[in-house]
């Protein structure tokens, strides 16, 4: 670790970045103890780029995204760190200021469009509301024209008729399209999609992923896509961040992350999924054990109880917290194993069975 460069953890946004998150921590005070949902996550996102956040349930990926949107305003949530959006810091900003930005500069697509949409209002009314909140000068009529235009853009047939339908009259895929229309109605420069396709069938998932990709090219927004499906991030993301136990354990460009993953957890994830593009494996290689509780995160490296290589670090994985270090150009991993050893293990043991 001596000659390796530490990633810049200094405060303030990176120069070219559009969104910079620095040492974000979101903890919740509960009756059972302090839940460290997000514990020191940092990343940068350039305009027009896509960041994929991958992790299992309870790894803190959704909490991170809600934190960026400023949706953890309860007394129980303790947020620290910095979130810079186009040079503006959001953690310390007033609730009113964040509300002005939310929906306008940053918007979100939620996982389950049936619960995220209001059942009592028509789809059109909900899009109109989102538009008029940020365009107070617009008349109802103009807003409705805009809503129809957006529904058309996301591929809903007969948008001028469907605009007056209620969410339950839409199918799952169409509801997700309507949610995307609602999120994009104000041309946000940051779009966060939290498991946008998990509730959908594969054929519809492919349609929605294509739509997100097209719209991103058209609107030039930066996108954060949160998912547990490595296939989905591979389709969309330029950069990938792997989360485990509330921390970022690996971060890098999509191509190198899939070809030469650095962290044993990422190896485990890739090894445990059956793949259609490879020859049939005799047997899957699962990650042993279960994901940790965020109240009692294991000491040292949170992954050490499940890591097959934890013994090779001479006890450091139990006692010492690994930091993200650069393992390749733009590719960081938080692991105690020396980079050379990791590359050897990956080449000898992991790569042949992937």
């Amino acid at each position: 670790m001596t000659d390796q460069k530490l990633i810049p953890e200094q405060s303030g946004p990176a120069a070219e970045a559009f969104l910079s998150v620095r040492d974000l921590r979101i903890h919740f005070d509960t009756d059972d103890g302090l839940v460290r949902s997000v514990d020191g996550v940092s990343f940068d996102l350039a305009p027009g780029k896509t960041l994929g956040i991958v992790g299992e349930s309870g790894s803190g990926k959704s909490v991170t995204s809600l934190g960026i949107m400023g949706l953890h305003r309860s007394k129980r949530a303790r947020i620290s760190g910095e979130i810079w959006l186009e040079g503006e810091e959001l953690v310390g900003a007033s609730a009113d200021r964040v509300r002005q930005l939310r929906g306008r500069k940053m918007a979100m697509i939620f996982q389950d469009p049936l619960t995220a949409m209001h059942p009592y209002y028509t789809v059109g009314q909900q899009i109109v509301e989102a538009y008029r909140v940020h365009h107070p000068a617009a008349s109802k009529k103009e807003a409705k024209v805009r809503a129809v235009e957006m529904l058309d853009r996301v591929g809903i047939p007969q948008p001028d008729r469907r605009v007056d339908d209620y969410p339950h009259q839409f199918s799952g895929g169409m509801r997700q399209r309507a949610m995307i229309a609602m999120a994009l109605v104000n041309d946000p420069s940051l779009l966060i999609a939290d498991e946008p396709t998990t509730a959908l069938d594969v054929t519809v998932q492919a349609q929605i992923l294509d739509l997100i990709r097209d719209l991103q090219q058209e609107f030039g927004s930066a996108v954060i896509i949160i998912t547990h499906d490595l296939g989905v991030v591979a389709e969309l993301a330029d950069d990938i961040l792997v989360m485990y136990g509330g921390k970022c354990i690996e971060r890098g460009p999509a191509t190198t992350l899939f070809d030469a993953p650095e962290h044993p957890y990422t190896w485990g994830l890739l090894g445990s999924m059956p793949r259609l593009d490879r020859d049939l494996q005799e047997r899957l290689v699962p990650v042993r054990g279960t994901p940790p509780s965020l109240i009692n995160v294991p000491s040292g490296c949170a992954f050490h109880p499940r890591c097959p290589y934890a013994e090779l670090t001479g006890g450091r994985s139990v006692s010492e917290l690994p930091v993200l270090t650069e393992a390749g150009p733009g590719h960081h991993a938080a692991c105690h194993l020396p980079t050379a050893d990791r590359h050897r293990i990956f080449a000898d043991e992991i790569a042949p069975r992937l």
Partner: protein, 344 residues
């Protein structure tokens, strides 16, 4: 993965000379839609609309399809948790289609089911011991050394610790709960297990553990599986043969390798091309067939071929004539007028 076959079972190829364990012929389930005070039937949801297949002993048949295609209903019909409205289900040569609850009970020892959601399929007020021991009590099966010992052995077989006997389901994670569900299904040493989306509620790293467990149990106990899932890559990993369902019908059924190497039904082709692949470089190269629109309603399925409304190859004949399920290659049946990947 030919060795998923139990050791006692010979290779599956010549299917005529062996009796299938399960044979389903023209199975139907129409859910009535009633209207008005008199509850007169005004229509029907044709959830399962005439499907036929058979499962050989020791074999794994995977069933894939999108939500609403009737695959779960089919699983419930085969296990007789639901009453078919037509067709025939035979288990080991016995017709079980309309057996009464009492007559069905002895057969329940042989067919068991694993449910999708490990959170709602275990009674939260019962201990693991009670849950896994219930089949013994219900079937009045005497076990050597008592029920407790048998349950603890089952827990161990499924990768849980025997000390878990007195714990409650909420103390376990999703993967462990699914193991409890599997232990319960295995209690009476069934011949056949129907698994309805056994891994879709689990995290990726846990999915692999459960898939491997199912694999090991099949080898060890010579089980026959009917695995229902929507994830094509999981189905490829576990199955010997695969059936693809669309709107209550089987559109293609074939050996696993034949189906994945050269799918013939356009729907199967489209499904496979839609699966996201964890390889960022492939996204530019690959040709993806994007289906437009949604699955039509099973209340009014399209005439002729049900897939024709979303099919890029559809012609006039597809609307007027329903394509029969024909054997295009040995062991590979497909219901399409214009199949893909065939050298005619």
């Amino acid at each position: 993965m030919t060795d998923t076959q139990a050791t006692a079972v010979p290779a599956p190829a010549p299917s005529q000379d062996r009796e299938p364990l399960l044979r389903v012929t023209d199975l139907q389930r129409h859910f009535p839609i009633t209207k008005g005070v008199l509850r007169r039937q005004s229509g029907a949801v044709r959830a399962v609309d005439g499907i036929s297949f058979s499962v050989m002993p020791g074999e794994t048949l995977g069933v894939v399809g999108e939500s609403g295609c009737g695959k779960s209903t089919m699983g419930r019909l085969v296990t007789r948790l639901d009453e078919p409205t037509g067709g025939k289900v035979e288990f080991e040569g016995t017709d079980i289609t309309h057996l009464s609850t009492g007559r069905m009970r002895p057969l329940r020892k042989d067919i068991q089911i694993i449910f999708q959601d490990p959170y709602s399929s275990l009674n939260p007020r019962h201990t693991v011991g009670t849950i896994v021991g219930a089949p013994f009590r219900l079937q009045k099966v005497a076990t050597e050394g008592g029920v407790k010992k048998a349950v603890q052995e089952l827990l161990e077989l499924c990768g849980l610790s025997p000390e878990h006997y007195n714990r409650y389901p909420h103390e376990f994670s999703g993967g462990q709960r699914q193991r409890i569900g599997i232990a319960r299904a295995l209690a009476l040493r069934p011949k056949m297990i129907v698994a309805d989306e056994p891994v879709s509620a689990l995290d990726v790293s846990i999915q692999a553990q459960v898939v491997n467990l199912l694999d090991d149990l099949q080898k060890e106990l010579g089980l026959t599986y009917l695995i229902i899932a929507h994830d094509l890559s999981v189905v490829r990993h576990v199955s010997d043969r695969v059936a693809v369902m669309y709107l209550g019908k089987i559109v293609e059924i074939a050996d696993r390798d034949s189906l994945y190497a050269a799918p013939t039904h356009p729907y199967t082709v489209a499904l496979m091309s839609a699966v996201p692949v964890p390889d960022p470089r492939r996204k530019e190269r690959r040709e993806r067939i994007l289906l437009t629109g949604d699955v039509p309603s099973p209340i009014n399925p399209p005439s002729g071929c049900r897939f024709r409304t979303r099919c890029w190859k559809a012609q006039d004949i597809c609307a007027s004539q329903e394509p029969p399920l024909l054997e295009l290659r040995p062991g590979h049946q497909s219901a399409c007028h214009f199949p893909e990947n065939t050298e005619a």
